[in-house]
Symmetry: C3
Subunit: 363 residues, 3 copies
């Protein structure tokens, strides 16, 4: 804990978050290489399949009844919070929550480090969302120094990292690109379904953290092409562009989704993040260039994957909601399965789930 | 969803809420005919009996562990909320909650339809309480249009409908009128224990929705007589009076409970709903005519059923609380069992509970 | 309920809280004699041991699934609240919560007695924390008068009583003094490990209720010596001093922890409770005399037990946190086990836990 994290290399930081070569803390997108991503996608798909049968759902329900999770959500969030709670419930893990600063500030004069250390006495896992950049990582290192260390999962920390959103996004892409048109695919993912595929990111790419994390992960997949489609004032950060170039991944910058939509295999829409405006500067932007309208369907590829991290505003016409290519509702549900897969992996019960899956489904 | 609900007949609306002739969504009091009411009362009674034995309670606990409920309570409510959560717990169903507008408004610029659609990805049932009239019904129809439709239960929607309160009230009456004086009756309800019985509704009948819904349900029972006892300014609405007349049910309007209490088999007290006053007009009303006092006991019938939806103020003297005819505390507990019966019916596990009941208790 | 509690003797009040000679309501520190304390410590230790093994944790998890707890926490509290919820989860007992006055005041015009009576219809146990002195005790007596009485546990009531904190403190002392240096002791407590031992209470002893309750309990143990180390303006109350004298227990008053620390077997640090200041009077106090610093380690006995009810400020140097004599984090966790032991005893499942423990661990 005495170490200054910013002085360490990413590889070193990542190593500190694992244990015996297993995933322990979940903090940074950089912890996930292609193999681990694929394992998690496969496990998420198996959990989904097992949960669909009553006896399977009951089996999952017995797995973590003896553990307890704390959801320490100091930054407001409804859907990430509920996604994690549903994931806990899928695995039968009881949880509790601390959801705002006023609840915790009540403990007068206590440092937040002490608060988290107290919580770690009652629980076996802390899932945290926090406005301070690097907070989750710092708490993970504090745990590592304790006699009874428990894992930390980062549910969003500052403006930078939101690794579980990136994982659910890549799970959605894996799923839809490997098995286009199938709503219940088998978990036999190809290691690289992205080869030769074009993914467009559309909208406010400068201020949304989901696209940033997902772009990092996609650099693990040779042959993918990324389009960043945005008003010049809201384009993706230079650090991401440099990272992509360093990894020799194909990309293009565009400023109108209408000119590129016909070439896309997947399109990831995002809303205008105008809560970050300092003086309403984004009002001047014609967001019509960054929306999917109903009549654009004509140009869509047959198996286009339409995604959105939600909440949405007008970026996607509501009449597309029931089009089979609209995957943003599935994406929400995928988040629950991916988070269940992460928790299961953290507690080393992935092998039990895989065994159960094979004994029932694989013949 | 494109249909305008107000253009449909009640029969058509009711049909849309069922599935394969089974209860699916629970939205309107009009969905419940005498047979369904009786089935639900019987099931509620069985759940109560089963839950009293340790092994029975554990059996119930295993029934819905593989499902998850969302309590979307945008209108404040403690007792209805807790009654539903306890009902979920009786059946072992995990749940989560969204309890105020600020939590959900956080999702900036999102429509509430999108919010509910997102929630429906994580959960298998949504129980909702909402200030907007017709909201629950609209959400039920939205679900019907989705690939993975989940049931909606209306826990109070606008000023009009509160079907689960009406059901717990009629369960309480069924129970007490069929088995006067027994605290643990068998679930062998007579189909019409109301024949020849007089039920008085007392207090602010104009502005409380519980009496309105209950009056609708009582019209299914020939031979019942209803007294509406209220100050003329707060009498029951003309629409209810017309509905009762159309159904050939006996009723009388009164303005002083003291003159009729001796004739009543059940009396349903309500509080003054002065939060709806526009300029304090109800302050002028002498509410003493609409209260049960301790010395009125002399006039009570031996098996009078005293009810109140709670919270109460001075309508019932506290010294009556421990009189065996005071059923308002039992009424609270009955709500939990009736809601468990509704949830069980929604998920088609009623037959399993009935089987369990008969194998243990019926000989 | 009609009785005026303040007119009753402590013995009579205590008797009213039990049932068939068993613990029923948990309200006052005075309910606990040496034998009951020892039984609870032993049970807490067994629950901890059982919970450490997966099959044991699962066994505990099945014990109270058929019961439901209400946490009625009108006075803000995070750690006591979470400690109780975790204890419920250890025993598999579902719970729900009412956490602030605004939630309950919503029920317009209802008395709080009615609110609690309503809650008692849904739940099988109410754990309450309330700003009003004697509230929990009054509610316990109200329950005793009801047909279906449920137990009440006092989680802190007014400035005076916080019995579960006192029990977790004495459990921590029992544990550490009986088995110095062992992190997983066997539950074979000596009946009086306090004989010949010195316990120092340091800091704001006038305004913290934890020290007061713990001092009461320690008077059951002959041979113990208590040091009260505080600024004269913040010394322990005269009522406690008189009580200790009446019980012939050794004690000394001091005003600087540095002069006595070398003689202590346990030291119980507390923070300045300046939220009770009427005009900032405690700002003048030099709190340096009531702090443990890093260099004081030299003087510590080898097996000194360092305790703190938390939250802390500067009373304990953070560099002591990972010293094996620092027991304040363990103390937090001990609270969870002790509360689980209390709940188990309340529901008469202590014998089942003891049997399970012996069948697995005692040979």
């Amino acid at each position: 804990m005495a170490e200054d994290l910013s002085q360490l290399s990413t590889a070193h930081r990542t190593a500190l978050l694992s244990r015996d070569d297993r995933l322990f803390h979940v903090i940074l997108a950089q912890q996930f290489d292609r193999e681990l991503i694929q394992d998690l996608c496969r496990l998420a798909e198996m959990i989904r399949a097992v949960a669909e049968v009553r006896s399977g759902a009951q089996f999952l329900n017995t797995l973590l009844g003896h553990k307890r999770a704390m959801l320490y959500f100091i930054q407001p969030s409804t859907r990430t919070f509920l996604s994690f709670t549903a994931a806990c419930q899928v695995l039968g893990m009881p949880y509790n929550e601390v959801r705002n600063a006023s609840t915790s500030s009540e403990v007068k004069g206590e440092t937040e480090d002490d608060t988290v250390r107290v919580l770690s006495q009652y629980f076996d896992l802390i899932i945290m969302r926090h406005p301070e950049e690097g907070f989750a990582e710092r708490m993970a290192h504090m745990q590592n120094a304790m006699r009874r260390a428990i894992p930390i999962i980062n549910g969003g920390s500052g403006k930078d990292q939101h690794p579980t959103q990136a994982l659910l996004d890549i799970y959605t892409l894996h799923r839809c690109l490997t098995h286009p048109g199938e709503s219940r695919p088998k978990p036999d993912y190809s290691p690289n379904p992205f080869d030769g595929k074009t993914i467009a990111f559309v909208g406010d790419l400068k201020r949304g953290r989901t696209v940033r994390s997902l772009a990092y992960l996609l650099c693990h997949y040779p042959g993918v092409k990324m389009f960043f489609v945005s008003h010049p004032d809201l384009q993706i950060g230079d650090d991401i562009v440099e990272y992509i170039q360093r990894n020799d991944v194909n990309f293009e910058l565009h400023d109108d989704v209408r000119t590129v939509i016909g070439d896309c295999d997947a399109v990831y829409m995002t809303r205008l993040q105008d809560e970050w405006d300092s003086q309403g500067e984004s009002k001047a932007i014609d967001y019509g260039k960054y929306c999917l309208t109903y009549d654009m369907r004509e140009k869509f590829k047959k198996d286009l994957v339409i995604m959105h991290p939600l909440p949405r505003r007008q970026e996607i016409d509501k009449r597309l909601d029931n089009d089979s290519r609209a995957k943003y509702w599935d994406q929400v549900r995928n988040g629950m399965w991916m988070r269940a897969a992460l928790i299961a992996t953290t507690f080393n019960i992935d092998a039990r789930i895989i065994d159960h899956y094979h004994s029932y489904y694989a013949h």
